[in-house]
């Protein structure tokens, strides 16, 4: 299973990728996580690749083959959409961080509707939640990344068990942060379950 995570430096994408990687090991899979360090992290766009399976070779996802795209920033969805395979799943955080340089240069920021329309040409499985607001409401604004992990898991397309994700979280965070992130994960799950419910019954 190939996952692409995209967003902006500082949003906790590396932590998210490492959580998926550790959970994969707990579940007994082979895994490769490709990260971005250094200059690109300074407020630049960040893309991480996570590959999980019985045997994984390259750390990089091939264009057009990601089973899932998780984007922590709205417009960054567009930058990584090329990796998505037909009928893959897209989970988007409806949070806009227009880059200062594009404001200076007068480059327009894409609208949510246009982004969704673009993604829907590849797949009908597009989930949009507002992870920042959910995390803020929980009193832990920094855990928006784990809200997104819960959302990704709730789509049923992530090849990882909840139990192993929690084990990975326990290894990564201290006790207090672990509890907060567990709640963040569950809220992410609920947000997607609500979307699925609304879709089914309306």
């Amino acid at each position: 299973m190939d996952v692409v995570l995209s967003g902006v430096g500082g949003q906790g994408i590396l932590t998210l990728a490492a959580l998926m990687g550790t959970a994969a090991i707990v579940d007994g899979y082979d895994v490769r996580v490709s990260e971005v360090h250094g200059m690109a992290q300074r407020g630049g766009s960040v893309v991480c690749h996570v590959k999980i399976g019985e045997r994984v070779s390259s750390p990089l996802v091939m264009e057009g083959s990601a089973d899932m795209l998780v984007s922590l920033e709205l417009s960054e969805t567009a930058r990584s959409l090329q990796y998505l395979k037909p009928k893959g799943v897209v989970v988007v955080n409806n949070s806009a961080l227009p880059p200062p340089l594009s404001i200076i240069a007068g480059i327009p920021y894409p609208s949510l509707d246009a982004l969704i329309e673009d993604a829907k040409k590849i797949t009908s499985d597009v989930y949009v939640i507002n992870a920042n607001e959910i995390a803020k409401a929980l009193g832990s604004p920094l855990s928006a990344n784990v809200v997104m992990l819960g959302a990704a898991w709730a789509t049923g397309r992530l090849l990882l068990s909840k139990d192993s994700i929690f084990k990975a979280m326990a290894r990564t965070f201290g006790q207090r942060a672990f509890e907060a992130n567990k709640r963040a994960f569950e809220e992410g799950v609920k947000a997607v379950e609500k979307l699925l419910h609304d879709y089914r019954y309306h």
Partner: protein
């Protein structure tokens, strides 16, 4: 990283190299931070408390790092030095001659290359250093192999007395994968140096003999590599072969899965790149009609395989860079295309062309970065002094001053070139020269240039952006910090003291958060260099904003964070356009300030024409 059992841990390639150093009894590890190599010695520094026989240092530059580790090896201790590809240019002087003297304790030089220039000024292929300097080179294909090859390199180095280069690339250094831990194998060795000047003094008379010894050592290593278990051959089509080097191997595996060939080619995974195991290769090549060499960047193996086929009169037609890209890192897709064309197959890789383009998002200076204030002050000073200026700069976070709204970076070449180029620009043009370099870069390579500017008088303004740390690579201590890699409190080395000792007569220290006095000091410096007497140094000192935020969270400093009064904000975005701070976020028709990342530098408040930005009252 703890534990002595056969535990499997998800590890970064760089952490795996560090683990290999621990398991392989490395006693001394040195580096100058540089992406993508930094985490190797950073990990070892964090382990120095656990292993009291381990010495770790952030050296002032790669040449010094190399020499400190080489001394350890001369003292019969195992040593590792790690650097980014361009760092080895700085350390290349001792590299070449260390191959002449040979080594005693196992000595590994990790060269972390950066294909695609993710965080670098070029994408040179450092495997070529091996050929040039008579130094063996190995190249892993996974984090597990990175650990194993680190240990193997230490053993080979010690057995044959040759320094060994372990070449990694960004995608390996910054890839996480499962790594099986083995118990650390720590000896009780202490350093001891037996004097033998005929071995370590490269006088011409000795050097001529040593070159012959280096050639012999390389031959011995070649026969070792002939039987290395890190090279493997997978039998497939006897007439069609692929030779895959280092990380290229895993892209080849992935591409072959996609191609789903009926006749899978034979695959030779090559981990020992120099000297090439020629007999081993010849055996693989013998029956082949055609072979594709897949390697990252230069056709180093390809050219040698071609030569080998010529020498041995083998019939194989050798392909490589005619089908695999020469520039940029390899990707599964680029290897798939090359391999398909080699096998005469057609591929239609799934191509998705999104209609919407994401707005460009290059890296920018962090919220509250003191460099931003310094650039703002330079811009104001130049405007007020009504001069025409050129802006040489250097390698670090401040290279981002290249982008709007500042655009105050005219050159970036290599560590220290900001000062060296300024020596020239100040002499060969009539413009005012204002150079920017960081504290870590200043110690690394700027001091000889500054002495040169006094000795061969060159009048330029040098602004040392002293944020107390090597910030771009994640805040490692620099000589400005007062702490070292081992966590010892040490004497701070101050750029202004060095500048004065070099003979610089105009030298001022300012706080860039105080924009007015920074601006007036730069104006004074401009007036001074107009007299053409010599260089003027302005040290703009303020800790990195990431450090400031950390200190703030710990309650050690108070920051005057700013907020926007929504009633007064007209949404003109002048703050964003003039300051370009990522804490300024457009929200509907207004701008808001992200409180978590604001450090209270105050620039946005200055820039707001409607006085809508104010200090948050606690």
């Amino acid at each position: 990283m703890k534990g002595a059992g056969r535990e499997v841990v998800l590890m970064l390639g760089n952490e795996a190299i560090a683990r290999g150093a621990i398991e392989g009894d490395v006693k001394v590890a040195t580096a100058y931070p540089g992406t993508p190599s930094t985490e190797i010695v950073e990990t070892l520094a964090s382990l120095a408390k656990e292993f009291d026989d381990l010495y770790v240092e952030w050296s002032v530059n790669e040449k010094v790092a190399f020499e400190v580790a080489l001394a350890a090896s001369y003292c019969n201790l195992r040593a590792l030095t790690a650097m980014k590809h361009v760092g080895l240019n700085v350390a290349s002087d001792p590299l070449f001659t260390s191959a002449y003297t040979g080594v005693r304790g196992g000595f590994v030089i990790v060269s972390a290359d950066d294909p695609s220039c993710h965080s670098s000024q070029n994408e040179q292929d450092n495997r070529i250093y091996g050929l040039h300097a008579y130094v063996p080179v190995v190249e892993p294909s996974s984090p597990q192999e990175a650990k194993d090859l680190t240990i193997y390199s230490l053993e080979v180095s010690e057995r044959y007395g040759a320094p060994v280069i372990l070449r990694t690339v960004t995608r390996l250094s910054h890839m996480r994968g499962p790594v099986e831990l083995s118990p650390p194998n720590r000896s009780r060795k202490r350093g001891s140096f037996e004097r033998s000047p005929e071995k370590f003094v490269c006088l011409p008379a000795n050097a001529r003999r040593m070159r012959l010894e280096a050639i012999e050592r390389l031959k011995a290593v070649e026969s070792e590599f002939e039987r290395s278990k890190f090279n493997t051959a997978e039998e497939g089509d006897p007439e069609v072969g692929v030779i895959a080097c280092g990380l290229a191997y895993v892209h080849v595996l992935e591409a072959l899965e996609r191609l789903n060939t009926i006749r899978r080619p034979s695959i030779l995974k090559l981990s020992t790149i120099h000297p090439l195991p020629r007999d081993y290769l010849a055996k693989f090549l013998e029956s082949k009609e055609k072979v594709l060499v897949v390697e990252e960047l230069e056709p180093l193996v390809e050219l040698q395989v071609k030569a080998l086929c010529h020498d041995l009169k083998l019939k194989a037609e050798v392909h490589g860079k005619d089908l695999i890209p020469l520039a940029g890192e390899l990707t599964p897709l680029s290897v798939l295309r090359g391999l398909a064309s080699f096998l005469g197959m057609s591929v239609e890789p799934p191509e998705v062309k999104p209609r919407i383009q994401a707005p460009p998002r290059p890296p920018i200076l962090c919220a509250g970065c003191p460099h931003r204030n310094a650039f703002y002050a330079i811009k104001m000073a130049v405007r007020k002094a009504k001069v025409d200026a050129i802006y040489p700069s250097d390698i670090g976070c401040y290279t981002l001053g290249y982008y709007p709204p500042f655009e105050l970076v005219d050159t970036t070449i290599c560590m220290g070139a900001g000062v060296g180029l300024s020596c020239g620009f100040a002499k060969f043009t009539d413009k005012v020269v204002i150079a920017t370099v960081g504290d870590s870069t200043f110690y690394h390579a700027c001091i000889p240039g500054l002495i040169n500017a006094v000795h061969n008088p060159s009048a330029f303004v040098l602004v040392v952006l002293d944020n107390n740390f090597t910030a771009m690579t994640g805040g490692q201590p620099s000589p400005a910090t007062g702490v070292n890699a081992m966590g010892q409190q040490v004497k701070r080395v101050l750029p202004e003291e060095i500048a004065r000792a070099c003979g610089v007569e105009f030298c001022k220290v300012v706080d860039p958060y105080d924009v007015d006095s920074t601006t007036s000091s730069i104006i004074e410096a401009i007036d001074y260099v107009k007299k053409r007497l010599g260089p003027a140094v302005v040290v703009a000192r303020r800790p990195c904003s990431l450090i400031l935020l950390r200190e703030h969270r710990l309650g050690r400093v108070r920051l005057e964070k700013r907020k926007v009064d929504a009633d007064r904000c007209k949404g003109c975005a002048a703050c964003i356009k003039l300051v370009g701070c990522p804490a300024l976020i457009p929200r509907g028709e207004k701008v808001m300030i992200d409180e978590a990342s604001c450090t209270g530098c105050g620039l946005c408040e200055r820039s707001c024409p409607y006085k809508a930005i104010e200090v948050v009252k606690e």
